[in-house]
């Protein structure tokens, strides 16, 4: 998350022509690339490049939950592990999992759990592991974006894909998808979100920094508006691997069928 540098020099975060430090518009995402099935040994996997961020995600399971006392007789449990490679940050990161990684793993796993029909797989574990190979702000939302595609690749029935997006504020401007330089603004607000775009639900939401209620409501609108782009890229990537002739790869239809098949 953003760390205040305390530097006094004034930086213009959005210039007169509406361009940001890296040339983007205020509501423009960085370039995002989604690939499906990048780890042959895994049950499902995905790779996401999001600006400079590079994330690998794998899914193993549903499989027997070990140790057994963690198993839930009513549903599968999701074990989400978010880790950053030692070389993924400007300094070297101690490879020992830090408090930040543990917290992110917890809330991200809970976010994914909402999307999965866990009741179908009692007593099992679904292990989702994501590794950040390179980072420049917004890694947790890139990681969730990759993880949910990996879950779909593993054939796990889901209510919706989980699409991540960051919104926030720098230099007094509300921005979409902040990069590191923007997160380091003295007045920076960083709001990672994960959304189920089709259901219109928020499954991950964090904020740090100072923001008014009005600014938040505006930011939330921006997030919902622009997360659609992430969602489209996720679907495109899945279609690229799975759409075959005679099959439109219409996942909404698949999701509806899955929904109807479940007794709740």
């Amino acid at each position: 998350m953003a760390k205040k540098t305390g530097s006094e020099e004034t930086v213009t975060y959005v210039d007169k022509s509406g361009k940001r430090l890296d040339g983007r518009k205020a509501d423009e995402l960085r370039k995002i690339k989604v690939e499906v099935g990048v780890i042959p040994r895994a049950d499902g996997s995905a790779y996401v490049e999001w600006g400079q961020n590079k994330v690998l995600a794998s899914v193993y399971g549903p499989r027997e939950c070990l140790p057994k006392h963690l198993a839930n007789p009513y549903k599968a449990i999701v074990r989400y592990t978010y880790r950053m490679a030692a070389f993924s940050v400007p300094d070297r990161k101690n490879p020992k999992p830090g408090r930040r990684e543990i917290e992110i793993s917890k809330v991200s796993g809970e976010a994914l759990a909402r999307a999965i029909f866990l009741e179908r797989f009692p007593n099992t574990a679904i292990d989702v592991d994501v590794e950040i190979l390179d980072s420049n702000a917004g890694t947790r939302v890139a990681a969730l974006t990759a993880a949910s595609v990996a879950l779909a690749d593993a054939g796990i029935p889901m209510r919706d894909l989980v699409a991540g997006i960051g919104v926030g504020k720098a230099g007094g401007h509300l921005l979409v998808d902040l990069n590191k330089a923007e997160e380091d603004a003295p007045d920076a607000v960083d709001i990672p979100m994960a959304i189920l775009p089709n259901l219109g639900e928020v499954v991950l939401l964090q904020l740090d920094g100072l923001m008014t209620q009005k600014e938040w409501e505006e930011s939330q609108k921006l997030a919902f508006q622009h997360v659609k782009k992430v969602y489209e890229l996720q679907k495109e990537a899945l279609k690229k691997k799975y759409a075959v002739e005679g099959n439109s790869g219409d996942m909404e239809a698949g999701a509806r069928a899955a929904e109807e098949g479940v007794v709740e």
Binding site: I102, V107, L204, L205, W216
Partner: protein, 262 residues
Amino acid sequence: MSQILWNLSADKVLATLREGKRSDGRKFDEYRPVQVIKNVSENADGICRIKLGQTDVVAGIKMIPGEPFPDTPDAGTISVGAELLALADPTFEAGPPREGSIELSRVVDRGIRESNCLDFKSLCIREGELVWVVFIDIYVLNFDGNLFDACALAALIALQDTKIPKLDDKDKPVKGEFAGKLKLARKPVMCTFVKVGNSVVVDPSLAEEKALDARFSVTTTEDDFISAFQKGGEGAFSPEEINKCVALAFKKGKELRKQYCE
């Protein structure tokens, strides 16, 4: 209570909420009574014990001179730790912090740090050499739901009462002597909501937490800023629910601040 009994209790909580009531009779936007107990430890530089219903937590402050971070040579810092003591709940175990207590301490930290209520520059003793590190250590003594709000409130009140130790010429604190009080520019107060079924209630009891689908914490300041959010739990919120929670967090934050932080 075993997990099976909690599952039954969760069904009851949900059924009661569907009737528009809470299992302990509170309104959906009503906090349990708060009791503030001060002077729990003479060795702490600031201290506050909070009882929120039967939830019982104590936050103690220690001001320790330490080295600044290389990227902020002229700024002090805070460090928040939350310990879910084994004596507080049958499911808490001794040992290194787990994800529950790590999340708790990081969310309390975020609310305080990001509100800029502490002027970190004023906590600089000698630039590049020595700064104050404000250690906020929180212990949970009895767990009856909503640790987030109880811990955040205890930490805030303890900070308000914190005295800065006087340092001798070897930079060691002089016992019993102080160089003034810690100054707080704002009072960040956290409000936590849980969603059970389609109902959203504030200040969840333990039974409500065991039944929760999702949890949402909002930290607000008296000058109308949000300083932290944290969503938890395996459920989801609609954008409208989130906006309602934020609005209510401002209202409840004001009430709590007025009653317990002035």
